[in-house]
């Protein structure tokens, strides 16, 4: 009985950790999306320098907030986001509107997709 109790306690802790992880994923993803939104605003107003500064800021936020993501997410998804971020930075640096916008929307979708994929929903369970 002691073994079962100990395992159930650890199991409860693991479940709580799972919920907490989902919450953290949601929070850090929304912060990243906010940064992407700011880059988009810069592009809309043709403020390329500001947009470029925001891409650097996005990288900083990514390094700070998403450092732990590979421990719970598929590493290939993280790699794709990092590749996409590098592309965005270069497209913004070369002031290419079409490519910057296209890549930004892809990046946005990829980041949005992560907490959605990890959320406890019937769609994901099935």
């Amino acid at each position: 009985m002691r073994l079962l109790l100990a395992l159930l306690i650890i199991f409860a802790a693991v479940i709580s950790l799972g919920f907490w992880t989902n919450h953290l994923l949601q929070a850090s993803a929304s912060e990243l999306l906010q940064n992407i939104g700011q880059i988009e605003q810069g592009l809309e107003r043709n403020q390329w320098d500001k947009a470029y500064a925001q891409t650097a800021e996005l990288e900083k936020v990514w390094d700070k907030k998403a450092k732990w993501w590979p421990t719970v997410l598929d590493h290939s998804e993280i790699d794709n986001i990092e590749f996409s971020m590098a592309k965005v930075k270069e497209y913004v640096a070369t002031k290419n509107t079409a490519l910057s916008r296209g890549q930004l929307s892809e990046l946005k979708l990829m980041i949005k997709h992560i907490p959605e994929k990890e959320a406890i929903r019937l769609k994901n369970i099935l």
């Binding site: 079962l4 693991v14 799972g18 421990t71 590493h75 290939s76």
Partner: protein
């Protein structure tokens, strides 16, 4: 090129580290599940063992998959197995649902056809199992019960079972377990203390046979009649 080689090497080392971790986790998990696992598996235990191996293999071979996605399901299976074991230990009804119930295939020497058909067990299966149990003649069987683990228990007719001393009213001596005293040169002092003996006694006994050092002994045991059995290590090994 060198970078690629280094990356490949890192990937290999990661794979090794992950394999060691997952192997340790699965071994600990199976140990926690108890000794019953190693012997006869109940249907749900078999499912758990198969799933465990598959779960451990995926993050082992693919370093892109987080270790946690293998470890958490393994832990969940461990909890499920231990919980089901406790439930089936405490409740007879749950035991019936989780493990199933034994099926009597031969009762009072008569084959129960209905039961055989119900569990889709044909006569050839039954004969095969009986032969495996050293009962080649079905006419010698009083009871045959198919256990929940899939094992067939056979109770032969009283006329056909081996004779035992009680049948002939023969008195017998107590036969306990022999106590292991030395394995591969290592002396089990705890076992010696259990029977109120010590290493000095063991040493003097072995010296009588020309063995001066415990390290020379491969195995030594003492039976309940006080007979010391020993074998020295072979020099070639």
């Amino acid at each position: 090129m060198w970078k690629l080689i280094c990356q490949g090497k890192d990937n290999m080392i990661l794979g090794i580290i992950r394999t060691i971790i997952l192997f340790a986790v699965v071994v600990i998990g199976l140990r926690l599940m108890g000794k019953r696992q190693i012997g006869q598996l109940q249907p749900y235990e078999l499912v758990i063992v198969i799933m465990l191996s598959a779960l451990a293999a995926i993050p082992m071979e693919n370093t892109g998959v987080p270790l946690a996605s293998g470890l958490f399901p393994i832990f969940t299976l461990l909890v499920a197995e231990v919980a089901l074991s406790y439930v089936s230990l405490k409740s007879e009804r749950a035991r019936g649902v989780i493990c199933g119930t034994p099926s009597v295939l031969i009762e009072n020497g008569k084959i129960i056809e209905k039961e055989l058909a119900r569990i889709r067990y044909n006569i050839n299966d039954l004969l095969e199992q009986l032969r495996a149990k050293n009962v080649p003649n079905i006419a010698d069987v009083e009871f045959a019960i198919l256990e929940t683990s899939g094992e067939l228990s056979v109770i032969p007719k009283s006329q056909k079972r081996p004779i035992v001393p009680a049948d002939m009213n023969l008195p017998t001596m107590y036969e306990g377990l022999p106590i292991t005293l030395i394995i591969d040169g290592y002396v089990f002092s705890k076992n010696l203390a259990k029977i109120n003996l010590n290493e000095d006694w063991l040493k003097s006994e072995l010296q009588k046979f020309g063995v001066n050092n415990f390290k020379e002994v491969l195995f030594a045991s003492l039976d309940t009649e006080g007979k010391l059995f020993y074998q020295v290590k072979s020099k070639a090994v």
